[in-house]
Amino acid sequence: MPDDVLSRAACESIFGQVADAARARGVPDIEVIFGGEDQALTRFANNTIHQNVAEREVNLSVRPVIDGRTARASTNRLDQQGIREVVEASIAITRLTEPDPELLPLAHAAESGAVRRFYQVTANATPQERAQAVAEAIAAVEEQGQTAAGIYSTGGSMFSLMNTAGAAAWHHETMARFSITAMGADSSGWAKASACRHSDLDPLALARSAAGKAAHSRAPQVAPPGRYTVVLEPAAVLDLVGQMFGDFSATAIRDGRSFLNDRIGKKIFGENITIRDDVCDPLQSGAPFDGEGVPRRRLTLVDSGVVREIAYSRQAAAVAGVAPTGHGFPLPNEIGEAPVNIVIAGGDSTVAEMVRSTERGILVTRFWYIREVDPYQKIFTGMTRDGTFLIEGGEVTRGVRNFRFNQSLMELLSNVEALSTPVRASGEESVDMVVPAMKVQGFNFTEVTRF
């Protein structure tokens, strides 16, 4: 289990060795980050398990602060020699680095919000348990005359930061993920979920949902490209809207690379869009402290369409004369900070109601290969995938061939007509977030592919 891989006590012991070794070399100020994981993943395709893996790894990284300079050295060798060598390497490269006049002293200890995200039963999940669930999921898809591919992973991880200024933060959590693609002769359907407690997942239900989508979208028709009303399921919202949160960063704005330059305090989205960053949300995951050990503060990034708050690392906060928000990445880095525990407020609609209220539109299960076209207008391109349907007269009538889109996120979030209750969504292009389904007017599909 990950906490056995590197418990808090083990981290404290290694930290003591690192601090002693650094002090013996004339370096009193040092920070240590520990990372560890024990993960297993059962992968299936063509209705059979074909890849089945497990990995155990720990990492120790050391960052001294010497006369306004800093650098980082890392190793996965945690024996005495490995520890001594990584300390020596970190000091050597730090002394060769240029001083940074904005570099701050190490962060002091601070109390983070309490989160419970480690479940022993998930850490203990066996290959047999995963294989059994996979076998049942495959059977559900095979019953439909379809082919299944997907993954079921379980495992745990830990993250800890300790420094000679007194910070001593430690976090562990478990995570389970199940995703499945059901494929018919000319159609497919997909479903995915993640949870800190694997008993919260229902692989069989996900398999049935994917198989249902594949069955309903068989013999897809070509719908011409153009502007459509779309109903975006939560995974589609997550993967597309999730692309913009790296810009809610004081450093990105200072660099001129954020679309929020000259837009803070302005209304750039619709009245019905409110977005928070909240590591303590019960559906969220992750450590309650950042890459310098600063507790993550809850932020209201967008309030009724108006950009209100952004993330500040310690350094960005010092430059701006404000308090850090606890969203910094481990130093040294170029990108500063970003909110990573996004919660988008929902509404009282449901996907079924969104469909019923749509005369003609497209229902999107997921997006794929999303890339930024224009960094300031926040235009993204990408494809629909694994369950794209035509809505006619308030009903999902048939599958359609997949579209390419080129869509501004500012325009999208200004055209939201309805939102569902937010759920923990899991996709492939953004980190897991808590998001609602959305009904959006005027979504810009520019091309159609061959399937």
Binding site: N52, P127, T446
Partner: protein
Amino acid sequence: MKDTALQALDMVARRGVTYADVRAIEIRDREISTKNGKAGHVSSSESMGVGIRVLAFGCWGFAATDDLTKEGLEAAAVLALEIARAGTAAHKSDVVLMPEDKHEASWVSEFRIDPFTIPIDRQLAVLLAVDAELRHQPGISLAEASMQFERRRQVFASTLGSVIDQTRYTAGAGFSALSYKEGEIQRRSYPNSFGGQYQLKGYELVEELKLVEHAARIAEEAVALHAVDQCPEGEFDLILDSSQLGLQIHESIGHPIELDRVLGTEANYAGMSFLTLDQLGRLRYGSDIVNVVCDARVQHGPGLGTFAFDDEGVTAQSTDIIRNGQFVGYMTSRETAAQVGQSRSNGCMRADGWGRLPLIRMTNVSLEPGEQSLDEVYDADHAIAMQTNRSWSIDDKRYNFQFGCEIGWEIRNGKRVRMLKNPSYSGITTEFWNQCAAIAGPEHWTLWGVPNCGKGQPEQVMGTGHGASPARFRKIKIGSAYAG
């Protein structure tokens, strides 16, 4: 490391397996970057571990560990076998591998200057000199420069009796200049975007790139882009520089020829391929002048896909993929070669570290140089030329793609007449390659490195190589990224 690999192999072999291989890997890397006159990221890291792959009960099992004690290896060996046994719960047919010879070899990639012998302050000084040149240009909001180096030693041992000790040195370097002005962000990069150029070389790569000499021009272009016209929308002849063409090859040829995708084993994440088995030898992939190889051999060049043996102990090879426009080859593994009746793997199995299972990955998938001069490639009445990738996207079967570039040029009668901003183009893979009208000769051919190709679950990030010369394509859809 050899002892560790053989010890781990013995632990699984004596428990009874159909086949097993072990990769003991030691990785050392260094990353240095600067940003707006300061050191941005200075780090070094090392990682050692062992990945044990077993074929037992007709199924694969894999376990990896960084606990290299006898107990740690034993636990991983037992777990790999337990995982293989668990696979029988959803098992249709036994895995079959095509034969491979036993190989005993030791190989180190060629390099002139060991990057780890160059002091970090000297490497930082190069980047800070680039940075100063970039910020000398008024209007630059963000100047970033970086270099990365890796030394990876791998000892592969298998129950076939192979023991292969390989060490590869890779290097990467580049810079970019970003300009924010009045509601618009423009960026230029050199020699390529997303970190620059990456090759199987030592520090000599950094010297060859002559970073400082190119900085002023790149910064000037980044600022100039604000004032030029938007790339028009419509159908035009398209001329691509070799780095953008390298990415075009990667996305629209490299991925679809992965036989595991074709056979469905990547369907849930990376996707599948339009190159179904019935297309082999039949599909007209491109025009007559399009010739593409997948070549991991040293003689192809110092690519990120160059090695002596792949990660299941198969010798590096060159495979024809497209010959005179005809689709003739896939990238394979020992298992997939067996599934399609081929007599031997063509050596494309690679893993991104000791913790991951080898998958079919691109080695160096390259467009062979043509016979035209650069003037002949540009010899169009009216065309749009594009340089340096800015965005890239393609569907999960690799038909429909769209690329954006950092800078474009309108070409009239073979000459650049004006700079254009926000250029993009899109199309369907085979339609695009069949419109290829001219390819520049070998003197313009560059073997580019893509350092961040993602595939697999859990995801693996791999470096791939793509050689290309500038080329011209007829009547391509341009500008749709900003349409509507």
